[in-house]
């Protein structure tokens, strides 16, 4: 509706507010068209595509090796997971396996990346709900992880950490000490975030019963990751279909009960602790050996197609690659977790208030780079 003088906002009971793409809390360039009755949300429609860069199409024009760094730009918060998923998919297509040492390095780095992704989620989610100190505390710990990444491969965000067939770099001297120090101190910091939020009346009020999604609805919509586990479904690809070296590690899958924002918060908090636990196990038993499988310089997988998925911090990250036997993929399709999880938004926000929309977008933990690709 327009807001000219003759037709003011009071004349209608329904107003449409366009939240985004330049809104501080739509986590990037998501646009949500909200139909409001006062402060109550009647309907929400997501408009995506503002960050579309044609990543999948690029996969058809780049060689298998060249495509990997491009994929880092999808979920730029969890670039390591993107890279791991892709490298494993191509390895599966080639019928090879990365050596155990490389597998361990991959697990450690991916779990550190999961922590950093969850920390960013925690900080921004809390900031959206108004608790701004958590944001800076979370970034303090995230910085330590990024320093480890930087020491390992030189990059902090879009790391391109692994290669098809293993890893490019050997771990640096002092890596174990630095990582050990981090995982020893990290649980204390998680307690610190929890003192600020977990039992805070306002936080509970803002998250309990907000954005509830039942296990059935979540499964029907294809929601995965912490968002699904918050609804009480114990589904984690690390356990369900172990990849890399995950079958060697001890860890628990935290689940929620009611599937509200608070449950998803608790799930992610616990996942951070579990990830620290995995890293702690990994650094103590990295096997010796090569870090790269024997592989020809030019990667030419046989004709065929493959689907492989991993548990990225946001949910199931799947790659579907069709090979025509050349050095470039015939079709490279990505199943990004954020894109699928975002479909739950409409169901979650119905009947809630404007302030809850922000909380729900936050709890879905979406990254627009991955949604639009």
């Amino acid at each position: 509706m327009s807001t000219t003088r003759d037709d003011t906002l009071f004349d209608t009971s329904e107003i449409t507010v366009s939240m985004g793409p330049q809104h501080p809390s739509t986590h990037g360039v998501l646009q949500v068209k909200l139909k409001l009755d006062g402060e109550r949300v009647l309907d929400a429609e997501c408009v995506i595509g503002y960050l579309h860069r044609g990543v999948e199409k690029l996969g058809e024009a780049q060689t298998y090796g060249q495509f990997a760094p491009t994929l880092d730009r999808m979920d730029y918060i969890a670039a390591v997971s993107n890279c791991l998923g892709y490298c494993e998919t191509i390895e599966k297509l080639l019928g090879i396996q990365a050596p155990p040492r490389a597998q361990y390095i991959r697990v450690i780095m991916t779990e550190l990346n999961r922590i950093s992704s969850h920390l960013l989620w925690l900080g921004t989610h809390a900031l959206d709900i108004g608790a701004m100190t958590v944001f800076l505390y979370a970034f303090r710990e995230r910085e330590e992880i990024l320093k480890i990444f930087e020491n390992y491969c030189g990059a902090r965000l879009t790391t391109h950490m692994f290669r098809i067939g293993g890893t490019q770099y050997e771990i640096y001297e002092g890596f174990q000490d630095q990582a050990r120090k981090f995982v020893q101190e990290f649980p204390k910091h998680v307690d610190e975030y929890e003192t600020l939020l977990t039992e805070n009346r306002i936080w509970i009020g803002r998250t309990r019963g907000v954005g509830v999604i039942s296990a059935k609805d979540a499964i029907d919509l294809g929601v995965t990751g912490p968002t699904l586990r918050g609804s009480g479904v114990e589904w984690d690809l690390r356990k369900a279909k172990p990849y890399a070296a995950y079958s060697d590690f001890q860890f628990d899958i935290p689940t929620g009960e009611t599937g509200d924002t608070y449950d998803r918060y608790m799930v992610r908090i616990e996942e951070m602790r579990q990830s620290a636990r995995i890293v702690a196990q990994g650094i103590e038993k990295i096997p010796d050996g090569p870090i790269m499988a024997k592989l020809s310089k030019i990667i030419k997988p046989p004709v065929g197609d493959i689907y492989h998925s991993i548990e990225a911090p946001k949910g199931e990250l799947g790659y579907y690659i069709v090979s025509d036997g050349s050095t470039q993929a015939y079709r490279a399709r990505v199943r990004p977790p954020s894109f699928v999880n975002l479909q739950a938004l409409k169901k979650m926000v119905a009947g809630h208030m404007v302030a809850d929309v922000v909380a729900i977008i936050g709890t879905l933990d979406i990254v627009l780079g991955e949604i639009d690709r």
Partner: protein, 345 residues
């Protein structure tokens, strides 16, 4: 001549002092807010402008003054211009009745530390400060844009509902002191031998919660919840006009802190005014006591902001009407019963 000095010159000087102190205070509190919250968040805060970032207090207002002053084409021009002024004036005017310290003698004249002692001081503060909300509604309305309007409506609803509980929370103090004049309330606390916070602890807590809500500060800062409503009622404002809203908000914080100190924390009185053993504390002037108490409450504001998430609109209403209001009424009744019982016993 005496008339001129007593009724025109001295009040004018006092008014000038208030008008000068408030913007200065706002400059300081802005820097303090950034610094204190930064320390709580393991940051340094502003460090670039001047040593230790001190000149930031000059740089911030200067930047606002130099910015382009935009009036949206669709805005209701005159209302848009007037709104920040309507918001600011009550915020400054209420400070007139707040007694900063005991009166003192200078050049053979008794000078009081307030502009005027209205015998309905508390009512005056409550009524004038609630005019400020009009500026916010008009500002949101005149912007003719969605986010400001939603922000303004939130603000109006919030201020109106919390004013009720705020009023009730003060009644306990009024029953104890038997007067509405702020000066007499402080003196009554001296005579009672105890700050009223010890006699009215629940009243004080209610007053301060409502006061924070009245000034739209965290965790009740919904009208300007940036993550939801961009900047709330002042989304369309920029430059100087924005700074007037900012000034008004901070002046209101000062008013609430000063009222809390005056009504509950003994105004300019030293701690334990009835304990003679602490008489040595009297060498500290009353003004210093008053200001240091106010600073404590201003610090609380910042502490709240760094610690707590934000309430949701309906939760805020629920808290105000279903929780604070009943308790404040119960507080009035209990106080009344206790006064009767103890006066007879």
């Amino acid at each position: 001549m005496d008339f001129f000095i007593d009724y025109i010159l001295i009040p004018l000087i006092k008014i000038a002092i208030i008008m000068a102190v408030v913007p200065g205070y706002v400059a300081v509190i802005t820097l303090a807010e950034r610094k204190v919250i930064a320390w709580m968040q393991v940051r340094l805060g502003p460090m670039r402008v001047g040593p230790w970032g001190v000149l930031q207090m000059v740089a911030d207002p200067l930047k606002l003054l130099l910015k382009e002053d935009i009036i949206p084409a669709r805005a209701d021009r005159w209302v848009f211009i007037m709104a920040p002024v309507i918001c600011l004036i009550p915020a400054l005017v209420v400070l007139a009745v707040i007694p900063v310290g005991p009166s003192f003698e200078i050049f053979g004249r008794t000078v009081t530390m307030y502009v005027t002692d209205v015998n309905i001081g508390v009512l005056y503060v409550l009524s004038i400060s609630s005019v400020g909300v009009l500026g916010i509604i008009l500002g949101g309305w005149a912007s003719n844009s969605k986010y400001p309007l939603l922000g303004a409506l939130r603000s109006a609803a919030q201020m109106v509902s919390y004013e009720v509980a705020l009023g009730f929370s003060i009644i306990g103090v009024l029953m104890l002191s038997g007067t509405l004049s702020l000066v007499s309330i402080v003196e009554a606390q001296k005579n009672a031998g105890a700050w009223y916070v010890f006699l009215q602890p629940i009243g004080f807590i209610l007053f301060f919660i409502c006061g924070v809500a009245e000034t739209n500060r965290a965790p009740f800062d919904l009208p300007e919840a940036e993550t939801e409503l961009v900047a709330g009622f002042h989304t369309e404002y920029s430059g100087f006009r924005f700074s007037l809203f900012f000034l008004a908000e901070n002046a209101n914080m000062l008013t609430v802190a000063a009222m809390a100190v005056t009504l509950f924390w003994g105004g300019w009185l030293r701690p334990f005014p009835n304990v003679a053993a602490l008489g040595f504390l009297d060498f500290v002037p009353g003004v210093v006591w008053f200001i240091s108490k106010v600073v404590v409450f201003l610090y609380l504001y910042l502490w709240f902001r760094a610690s707590w998430p934000r309430y949701r609109y309906d939760q805020l209403m629920k808290l105000g009407w279903q929780f604070l209001l009943p308790i404040s009424i119960a507080n009035v009744i209990v106080t009344a019963i206790l006064i009767v019982v103890f006066d007879k016993g």
